[in-house]
Amino acid sequence: MSDLLKMTATQAVFSLSQKEISSIELTNAYIDAMETTSALNNYVTPTIEIAKQMAENADKAYAAGSAGPLAGLPIGVKDLFCTKDTQTTACSGILKGFTPTYESTVTSQIWQSGGVMLGKLNCDEFAMGSSNETSIFGPAVNPWSAKDGAALSAGGSSGGSASSVAAGSALMSVGTDTGGSIRQPAAFCGVVGLKPTYGRCSRWGIVAFASSLDQAGPFTRTVGDSALIFSAMAGHDSKDSTSASVSVPNFSDVVNSSVEGMRIGIPGEYHMDGMDDEITRIWKQGRSWLEQAGATIVDISLPHTKYALPCYYIIAPAEASSNLARYDGVRYGNRVDAETLDEMYEATRAAGFGEEVQRRILIGTYALSAGYYDAYYLKAQQVRRLIKQDFDSAFNNVDAILTPTTPTAAFELGAKISDPITMYLNDIFTVPANLAGIPGISVPAGLSKQGLPLGLQLLAAPFREDRLFSVASAIETQAQFSLAPARAAGELS
């Protein structure tokens, strides 16, 4: 039993299919771990009974020989995915108590593949944040500790999704990435985080933040696990007009394919002034690993990189200001009664939305206003096209691009929350992929001097997640990163 939490998903599927372990055993181990790691504040709505029921079903499926590819694997879900009959809040006061009557496409595909739902995971309110501190439930905490022992941010917005996988309270989890919300917390927590190509996974049933940027993706401990769950999540959905009608290969087949002869781009623009030496060091390390694995390293230029962050902070809030208009207290969620309709809106939204969400609604409303639209939103869309063109021409020359995932390792809780601009700078390496709609993956590459995980990011052309998996697994093989956070569930650490 003691090894249950140490298994990767790929190993667990094998043991389950060999009847060496049962899903209910595995699930119970994770339920215990949820309890022992509860101080990390990862689960906002645990679904223990559902988990047990699903685990039993999985065991029956194995017995009947009808087990799906994820059968019996305990999985946590970011509280941004609507889950039928289970509270879904987007970690916002305005949706506290909201229980959908429907299941998001991505999660229902996971359950259909046999996945076991452990519960809903903490995140920044409406996925707006880079530290999980804007959550109405308080921050998810990073299971890793700095040498001085201060509590660290798990990153955000999918902080709970990253922390739970690192801490051993979920075997895998799903999150969403609008500007780095999967890759940044994955890097902070030392796990693998994949942001797929825009349109690869259906957005249907995911509480929208910025529709043209949002994309669901998995958190796992290995690249192989990422390919396993991603194959179940991806696919065209007629209920999402932006979902791509592109066939989904079995990504598990490509994970260990060789990178020999592949061309890997290193973008000069990602050398930022004042960037941590440790980040530069790990980036160089990644470069030499890939060289050793037989890849060719190519220096490339992505000239519009420096405009990505300001461009993102126009487009994302603009879309958010409109997407969040539906939380008006009229049909569902929390309402604060008042004399007139307008007063009811004001009172409801003032009470229901936190400070960061209100800030972004205001920025977005401003950016779309008459007289400012051309200068902000329209200009940002033009810049966005240029950023996309940068990547298009780069991928004519290289198969993947290697960058750091974040400019720093995990920071202390409370360190940046009062300074939004510094917080936004965290997304500097991750935002371009969302603007361009290309896939990106963060893979753990080593530890900082403080003993904190550092991640490397790989980017590829649209719908070439297969290349991400093969390059990421080459790094994984050489990095030999071992998951050992101080605050993980007992047997993991």
Binding site: F81, C82, T88, A90, L95, F98, P100, T101, Y102, S104, R203, W204, G205, I206, V207, A208, A210, S211, S212, S238, K239, D240, S241, T242, A318, E319, S321, S322, L324, A325, R326, D328, V330, R331, Y332, L341, D342, Y345, T365, L368, S369, A370, Y373, Y377
Partner: protein, 484 residues
Amino acid sequence: MSALVSGRTGDWEIVIGMEVHAQVVSNAKLFSGSSAVFGASPNHHVSLVDAAMPGMLPVINAECVKQAVITGLGLNAKINKFSVFDRKNYFYADLPQGYQISQFKHPIVGEGEVQIELADGSSHIIGVERLHLEQDAGKSLHDQHPSKSYIDLNRSGVALMEIVSKPEMHSAEQAAAYIKKLRSILRYLGTCDGNMEEGSLRADVNVSVRKPGEPLGTRTETKNLNSVRFIMQTIEYEVQRQIELIEDGGAVTQETRLFDTTTGMTRTMRGKEDAHDYRYFPDPDLLPLNFDDAFIADLKKDMPELPDEIKSRMVTEYGLSSYDANVLTEEKEVAAFYELASAGRDRKITANWMSVELFGALNKAGIDLAQSPVSPEQLGGLVDLISDGSISGKIAKEVFAEMFETGKDAKQVVDEKGLKQVSDEGAIISMIDKVLASNQDKVDEYRSGKDKLFGFFVGQVMKASKGQANPGMVNQILKQKLDT
């Protein structure tokens, strides 16, 4: 040409533009699978998308796109193969998403035109600026509870076509003719049922006045007019109000107004300073609409004949007057009834009988054509009896009244009542002889030159035959007898 209105300071020209919202005929809403049928109990045609539940996404209904393109073709308009859906952002309790999905910069249909005819026989082309697709909002019910408003989302998300005219109308009469013609075209096309009472067709009317030759005046927009009469009343009221305002030294303010159906007046709804900033931007949940020439050609192939085409066919092929043709083509159902009733027989006589007798009777009974007790075939049967001389026009009226009353065929009525026209020459001669014999004095007067008495003799003979004598034969034989 434009009708001028005289004020104290001289003549004024009226400028009118109209935005018409036409509900698209389709089974489902514009972006969800819910039924778009009118009349369900509140909130029974509402999907998760219509209620804007978290995470719900719109998916375009291809049928509504087709309907918009067909309408564009019917308005001789430019069809835009590339168009974009935008969000129009504003808060209201019956607008669940907090925005309406509409088309702003790139509408599906561009410039077109509508031809109108006025009572004086003049014909005008009114330009159409654009047509775009958009969602309808839900309905707020303020009279169900003393302090609360209720919301019915059945209409939320139903597809509308907004058809924007150019400011090219210059009188209430033109505006009325425009909306009637537009309604007629939509109904022929089957893209909108045109039911103004149920709100399937409603208009926002922009009115301004200016001195002839001067630049456009400041306009007001009066919202949500759902009858031709209200449109005309609004224009008449606004024109008077604006002229008086300017002539008294004031100025018209650009604003949105509401029409009060009880007083026939308009009043301010919101001024320019309260105008919403809709913060339009392309809806990131939807891809731009793209289709090819083949898609348009396919729809073009199945286009029904439109009122203008039918009308010109009726004038050139059937020999109808332009007026009759207009009356018979305004409504799709009327034209179809007429085509059936007149097929293979005298088109003109059928047209007369339809527009005078049938419409008169329907009007009097307060029912519409769909409920007519006389079918097209039955009306045709009556025309046949007139044409072959079986009954006179006068008798036909009596027969028609009976048909309308009982729903019987013309022939059956004639047979039962013994109304068949007397065309037996011997019988007619004997009736004529009797009349002449008992009116010898008048015969003498006629023969001494008083020609006008001819009509008197015809009348007497017809009276004697109880109207059944064949009038043509009576005329002919009388003439022979009197003139020899």
